[in-house]
Point group: C2
Chain length 461, copies 2
């Protein structure tokens, strides 16, 4: 859920050093400067009077995502309606060396949309068309304003769905820009595996189709893999204006379960064995005792407060039976409790809502505090030791950090709940994250947002 998935991206660096700093200019001052005047009137002539905003509320709304990171408002927000407008706006910015910040839904948790050097925010919400659905080819093309929930609503009667699910209702192009992942990556992969083609506006306004215009091959080895260079580039290489996505058949049957374990090791061992047994598990999510306690309180549940797995199975009725019996056998042999079942859609959606609300549940542990995410991925075999050491570290340093993870991928989040007005606590959090990084050096990769996290800690909000 607190994957770096929701924001459309970060700074797009135009070549050059001397930014035109519109920041702080009042509209009258702007109209007094002919160059800046030219810029704004160019913007207005491209996307209309109501397509350009200098209002403080609008700028502040676009300088912040859902994270703890402080608001860095852009100097101006533009609302292009099509790729041609994005391109024309980018050309103006390029010729005046203005930073561009693409903005999707602002649901990111890592401050990626902050205009740290001011500049022009491209809000892409007006471009919200589902363009080409090819059910027989299992693909669809969407504009940047389309969110994953909107797409799945659009697909409702087709028997198809798009599975990548970072929790928030992020825009799909933003999810491509940030290489979003989520609870069912273990079965369906991340954005990396599910983007077939991108239309991108580069810094100079030129338009690039990473796999060729209008192409949507299932695989390609022609030329460099520019699609995957753009996926995860966080807006630094271009503004994604279209993405073609791989779709999947809606599973015939779905079942979810919750299982409690005596230890972190037992939960992770079960995960490894389930994967080794070839069970095509759709979701296998770990929550530590602190996190399950937080979820119990926030979502009115009453699961045992021990290391817990949330599981989901997709398949035909028959295959589901087999997946479940294999998994149940494995969890029991590791001391796991009996599955608590969630077969009906309502109970299932309540269960996964609780998991997706883990961020807010964490925040609710300490009212008035702020939360920020860490995001670590290690080989599965290293996971129990690292989680145990991390929990010891948290206790020793009097920090609140409930843990949840996409355990099938070796990926976990420790949600730091901090009092932003307590410099000592902020300092302890800062040292903790440094230790987390060094503990996992040579073995882990911080998934994203490093820069912005340290930025936060150096410049507390």
């Amino acid at each position: 859920m607190w994957q770096s998935s929701a924001a459309a991206g970060r700074l797009l660096l135009c070549s050059g050093r001397s930014w035109l700093q519109l920041r702080g200019y009042s509209s009258t001052v702007i109209s007094g400067k002919t160059v800046e005047d030219g810029v704004l009137s160019s913007f207005r002539s491209i996307c209309g009077e109501d397509g350009v905003s200098l209002g403080q509320a609008v700028r502040e709304q676009h300088g912040k995502d859902e994270s703890v990171h402080r608001c860095c408002p852009p100097d101006v927000v533009v609302f292009p309606r099509c790729v041609e407008e994005v391109s024309a706006l980018a050309r103006v910015c390029h010729s005046h060396r203005l930073p561009i910040i693409p903005f999707g839904t602002g649901t990111g948790l890592e401050g990626g949309v902050g205009a740290v050097k001011g500049g022009v925010c491209f809000s892409l919400r007006k471009m919200d068309a589902v363009l080409d659905l090819h059910p027989e080819d299992f693909d669809v093309t969407v504009e940047p304003g389309v969110t994953r929930k909107a797409l799945n609503a659009y697909l409702r009667d087709t028997g198809l769905w798009f599975p990548v699910d970072p929790g928030a209702d992020a825009s799909l192009c933003g999810m491509a820009a940030t290489s979003a992942s989520g609870t069912n990556a273990v079965r369906y992969g991340t954005m990396r595996e599910n983007v077939l083609n991108l239309e991108v506006v580069l810094a100079d306004g030129s338009v690039l189709h990473t796999a060729g215009k209008g192409r949507r091959p299932r695989k390609t080895a022609a030329g460099y893999n520019l699609t995957n260079l753009l996926v995860g580039s966080e807006g630094t290489l271009g503004i994604i204006t279209k993405t073609t996505l791989r779709l999947y058949g809606v599973p015939e049957a779905t079942a979810s379960a919750v299982c409690s374990f005596p230890s972190v090791q037992a939960a992770v061992d079960s995960t490894v064995q389930v994967l080794q047994a070839g069970v095509p598990i759709a979701r296998i999510e770990f929550l530590d005792d602190v996190m399950i306690d937080a979820c119990n309180r926030f979502s009115s549940l009453n699961y045992p407060v021990t290391p817990t797995l949330f599981l989901e199975f997709h398949g035909s009725e028959r295959s589901l039976e087999e997946q479940v019996s294999t998994t149940e056998e494995i969890t029991q042999s590791n001391g796991g409790a009996d599955f608590q079942w969630a077969r009906d859609a309502e109970t299932r959606s309540r269960l996964w809502k609780a998991r997706h609300d883990a961020w807010y549940a964490s925040l609710a542990l300490r009212p008035g505090c702020k939360a920020y995410a860490t995001d670590v991925c290690v080989p599965l075999s290293r996971l129990p030791q690292i989680i145990v050491e991390t929990k010891e570290d948290l206790i020793e340093n009097r920090l609140t950090g409930p843990i949840a993870g996409h355990v099938g991928d070796g990926n976990f989040h420790c949600v730091m709940v901090v009092n932003p007005d307590d410099p000592d606590e902020l300092h302890r959090v800062h040292l903790f994250t440094q230790r987390l990084a060094s503990l996992t050096t040579l073995r882990c990769v911080f998934l994203s947002g490093k820069l912005h996290r340290s930025h936060l800690l150096v410049n507390p909000p």
Copy 2:
């Protein structure tokens, strides 16, 4: 099988234009030129006397792969034993602006190893260690001399395997360099999905770990996705000296089948429906009537000479039953014949050997001729029409081009069997491939080797 999968890559372009052309120098001439002398003795001091070869036979062996493309021998072949030697050799080449051509097994079918501007071939066969196997993490790291069959032999007792299978026993780093695919990509993906990390020596000799040194995360969103920029770069961005690969559990049970269809449309419709039904099919390969006829002759089989699917199912015994019954229902509803079963390992391996030998079966259709591959990927829904039009074109132009394809991915190969001594036929082939490209413009991507293919046609072997 004739995927661009086997060769270690293409030209690595050192920055600069003035190559030192060793080509054609005899060893005495070389020893008469102090600069070149210095180069060769540097090479020898790095990888030993027997690690440098100027012999014509060795050079010719390294100037050609298994394709029709003419031999372009390098000026010298070096045999480094470790990454430090590769790096030191690359530094020498860089300072003298010599082209580098990485060489794996030479099993490519697109001429990627040809030293079109002379230069130094880096044969990586001495680096053949399996370095780090982590069964509990489903990953392994290998040096460039390790082939896919060698790896799977090494894994035999672990319950794990590496599924990407381009037919030839290519080196795994070569398969990474060329973004190899194969018959079971429909289930397990291509190299793109299965490479976790690469160690790469860049043109200046510096060593890059694309996902961080020693790291093998299942996923990452930290920084640019350099791993996938290198996968498929065909040796143009660096020399791959190590690759960390994702492994899979050996399926509990496997079954193969052959099914004949009244038309191309019926075979492809069945494929779409099988995928839509969510059958996790491991292989679904299309062979047209000409190809099945060629395979019958070459491999002593007697399948009906009509459009045919070769299928393979992986899973537990119970899941297999279900996969098979769903698939059989679908094929029958499309007019497919009863499955011909291959349940025992011997019959199965005979079946897939026949499929993998399709290249040689095609060649055997016209003794004395040469074959070269085309490699087209289109959205599945476009496949029947394009195959039908392609077959009409072949007949009209009196060309031999049996067709086989990884139909689950919309990817097919038309193997052009040509008489290299017939300029008129070569010309007709040239025009045919141009039409194939234009027919599929906006809808398809030539998977690879375009440059080398047109190069062939302009300069017949």
